[in-house]
Symmetry: C3
């Protein structure tokens, strides 16, 4: 399903604009990034004030870092965040003084195995400062006095997040979320929000949305906790499924789905079917069980006190590429085409998710009189016995699907189970479901 060049170009332009912004989990960079996205989707910014109690956490002050620089003994500029904002340890305290090489090395981060890469390092919750440099540069440092200048301050502000919704027939909500706190990283940062933006544009053009879709961007971990803290009642009431989007670019051939903690949500079941080659929609997908020891914001949504039906979708992740959390993770590595391929697949998943709920027969006492609705042959003879109405040739299959949907439609069986009983995909049942809905014989329900 090749997309028009314009979508590619549009996302590439967004990427180029967003990449250099000096982001962190708070402060001007992330807010500027959110504001940029607001041009294309009606995100509403919210902030949870610094020092707030958010479940077990206390929200940090905002980090405003104007610029950080490091000069060598000879006065040469070694680090400058105006050139590459990965070069300062994120959330570094301000400093302006001379240090020996020995002292400096305690504050330098480099990657011996990747000599040219600049690592991405943070210290959000413990006061510290530091610089990140390539190993090549690190090895070339000579003894002498270095000057460090980090122009930063901590300000009472708040933790930002932003969301918008596309309303659907039901208030039941699907949450699509990504994080936007890493500076100058491609796959493990911008791929997520850009996929979110692309999905917003596509879903807004759907003719029919059964669910309301919420799109959320936040700083990782603390941002999702702030969102959940503020929206907990809403989520408890309306959330029926969702995806954390992370690392959805890169060269990996298959998407990877990490199931929710429950492991039996409608989305889990659908993704598992896809991983088994069902639904025949050409999506190659790997299914993994929930794991609390690594991952992204699903670790918060899937804490035992919430246990929300949130999974995580990714493509090229930690452990699968050298560039994880360093400057090798750039646009070329991520690939706009790869990102678009992920978006295609996720959109397709959501179209199946839309009809993956629980069918409920509205006339469950005996078989409804299908004949009067032109869904059953009016004459019972050998020549009509294989047909479901008088017009359609060989529509016995359709009649079987109708009878199966109605009989299994007790509100306890999901569409996936019905589809298995019909030896077809959920997708293939769509037309029959919609016809029965129009006749008032069936409703699709969903539960959180």
């Amino acid at each position: 399903m090749p997309k028009p060049a314009s979508e590619h170009d549009f996302l590439e332009q967004c990427f180029d604009d967003l990449f250099p912004m000096f982001r962190s989990i708070t402060g001007p960079g992330i807010e500027q990034s959110i504001e940029y996205l607001t041009q294309f989707m009606p995100l509403v910014l919210e902030k949870v004030p610094s020092g707030s109690k958010v479940f077990d956490w206390t929200t940090p002050r905002e980090w405003h870092c104007q610029r950080a620089r490091l000069w060598g003994p000879n006065g040469a500029l070694i680090c400058d965040t105006d050139i590459n904002n990965l070069q300062v340890v994120n959330y570094s305290t301000p400093i302006d003084r001379d240090v020996s090489l020995e002292e400096l090395k305690q504050h330098l981060h480099h990657l011996p195995d990747l000599p040219t890469a600049i690592p991405y390092v943070t210290s959000y919750y413990k006061e510290n400062w530091g610089f990140c440099i390539s190993n090549d540069v690190y090895e070339s440092l000579s003894n002498g006095t270095y000057r460090v200048l980090i122009e930063a301050k901590f300000i009472d502000g708040g933790v930002p997040f932003a969301s918008c919704v596309l309303p659907g027939e039901s208030e039941k909500e699907v949450l699509l979320s990504s994080y936007l706190c890493h500076p100058s990283l491609a796959n493990n940062e911008l791929s997520g929000p850009l996929a979110l933006l692309s999905l917003y544009r596509r879903l807004s053009s759907w003719k029919k949305r059964r669910y309301t879709y919420r799109f959320l961007v936040n700083p990782e971990t603390i941002g999702s906790l702030c969102f959940i803290h503020r929206y907990q009642d809403h989520l408890n009431k309306f959330l029926v499924g969702g995806l954390i989007l992370t690392c959805v670019g890169g060269p990996a051939e298959r998407l990877r789905y990490k199931a929710s903690r429950r492991g039996d949500t409608i989305m889990d079941e659908l993704m598992f079917a896809l991983s088994e080659g069902k639904e025949g929609c050409g999506i190659s997908l790997e299914y993994q069980n929930f794991d609390p020891t690594s991952g992204s914001d699903e670790r918060q949504y899937c804490a035992p006190g919430f246990n929300y039906p949130m999974g995580q979708i990714s493509r090229t992740v930690y452990g699968e590429y050298d560039g994880y959390h360093n400057s090798l993770d750039d646009k070329q590595f991520m690939g706009i085409d790869s990102l678009l391929n992920s978006v295609d697949a996720i959109e397709r998943v959501l179209t199946v998710f839309e009809i993956s709920g629980y069918p409920v027969n509205q006339s469950p006492f005996g078989e409804p009189q299908l004949g009067k609705r032109n869904l059953y042959p009016s004459m019972n003879s050998q020549s009509t016995r294989d047909k479901s109405d008088d017009m359609t040739i060989d529509s016995r299959t359709k009649l079987n699907r109708i009878l199966t949907l109605l009989n299994m439609g007790d509100g306890l069986n999901r569409m996936r189970v019905v589809a298995d009983a019909c030896h077809c995909s959920v997708e293939e049942l769509r037309y029959t479901v919609e016809e029965l809905e129009e006749q008032g014989l069936l409703k699709l329900e969903v539960r959180s």
Copy 2:
């Protein structure tokens, strides 16, 4: 277990009397058939008036067809329901006029693959008329003017059904049901009601019935819906199991059980055990899961709004014989012996069903003192350790069964599970169960 010739002869006489009656889902033929059976079992006829709302259905008017005839261009009589009442499309509208062969052919039904068979065709809920003829006759028709005369009228009457009960120790009820609406068909019609009649006679001579047994005859589909509509509260309160009897004659070697929608009722479990060769009672039986896309009245009982514990028992069914719904389905094909063989098996199944409930230990706090009831050796020595009382040689097996029945008898385990734990059949536990019941130590419970 050969039956006395009288049962064979009795059923053959009933068959011969009932076969030619001009039945439909309403009207004189089915009522006459019910009245015939009333000579031998105390069926009470009930009718749901025409035009009644029965769940999603509206009951039809009665079809009174006096006679239907078709004459050829030369005046020769081609069809005459006085000769074979399959020859008119059941529920045909009245007509009396001349038609061309071309027009007539739109109303003729024949079976090209079975040149001598007259098909059975109905059009209950859409106004139409037609004749059914063999393909041989169809091929011989010459151009010209044909005379059609269907002397029929539609009358405000009702949908009939009839039932009677054999009371048992409990008001909990087992429903045995068959349909009686097809005219002049043997396996797929009279085998069911005749088996029902035979079972009525046998069960009425049982020394002990734990359950109440209800015997029901009705027109297929609409008749079972009418019965359920009127008896729904009763069924909800008392029904604990039952069988739809259909096509229980014919040459097939094995009986076939189609499970209830629940798939885990006591009857389902028993039939599954039989299909696995358990219960060792020589019944060869095939077990099939419930399927809403074909079958008989169990499709109504097992609609999701009812979900009653009703299965279907059959022998030679649709897809397994050429004569399905045509004149080849006659007494010779059905076979009275085959029918009796089915009755033997069903009676045997019911005797096991009687003790297939949930044993409930009436003295569940510790082991009861079996010694004072002469169920345990009074002296504990090596020579008595293998015995359960002082009189019986090698009755350790019996003691083990007693202890197992009492220990598992918490009202949650079925007899089937206890029997498996005892490495024997439910049947083999009967005597021990009855002994413990007499001692007041055990009750058998059943749940719907």
Copy 3:
């Protein structure tokens, strides 16, 4: 884990003192035995009066047998309970008269297959008298007049039992029980109470007991019923697990655990894991499902009306040795070393049982902020990503265990399941559990 010689010697002395006491299910012998144990553990004796209704049973009168003797025709003493108290049928009625050999033989018990063994025979609930002799003696009896003298009486007294507790942090109780009614038998009698005594001494020296431990000795069957009858409310409220100790000596290499009737208690699960070689603590154990047809007091605890979480632990049992219930079951056969080996294993099992409950995350809304508790690396860089804090080298494993404990800690998963998810034993999680408990992040709960 070799024990100091003193434990061996201590138990051997107890064995030698207890062995000759003339025990029965009531009367002076069992009370004297309990009083002996009271020197070393604070057992409190209770009695349920003779003639009491205890569930389905009526408690018997006490049997006081001073001495029983049998003389031959030549005046030679053949049996004398002052020499071996197995020689009288336990609960024999008093008798003092001359009998012919023919009459006598009706009251003699011997074991043709074991010519030198004196069998142990009882007749608690039916009046009778008899003597037990070796087959060699039996074969040598000559015709003539024998004199039988059984000096016994039945007294209104009661059925005794005795228990004491070691209190723990929780009132939830673990019950360790054995029976003490057989006279002069070693493996199938004294091994149980002696193991109980040894466990009492060991557990009393534990630094921390999460549960309260109750130690119970009683006459088999009737004694456990009397205890349950009196303590039923207490057991219903507090009992969370327990073991019947029986036949824990003897030459068998492996311990054997017979599961509770539930089959899914924490103890059952732990024992099953041990039988599968998990927990890696070198205990070789066979796991058997519950069976109501043989065994000891667990048959009463696991009656359906109680269904208590009680299993049975044994080593060399009925069917596995010739000496069962006869004089071959002596100290040499039982072996003090074998008994101590069983005690070692049971103590080890109990230490794992202590932490085998349900972890409950006390901060379940999102991940707790582990960094502020020094349980998470304060700086996120490649070099710290594999660590859980700043001090510990390679503590990623520990962090994973923390995250898994917290995420699975919803009060529904047992430690066994968490351990499996962590690919380690429950024992290996002990330190992490305790650290999280100290931090207030986790509580271990247990349910009956």
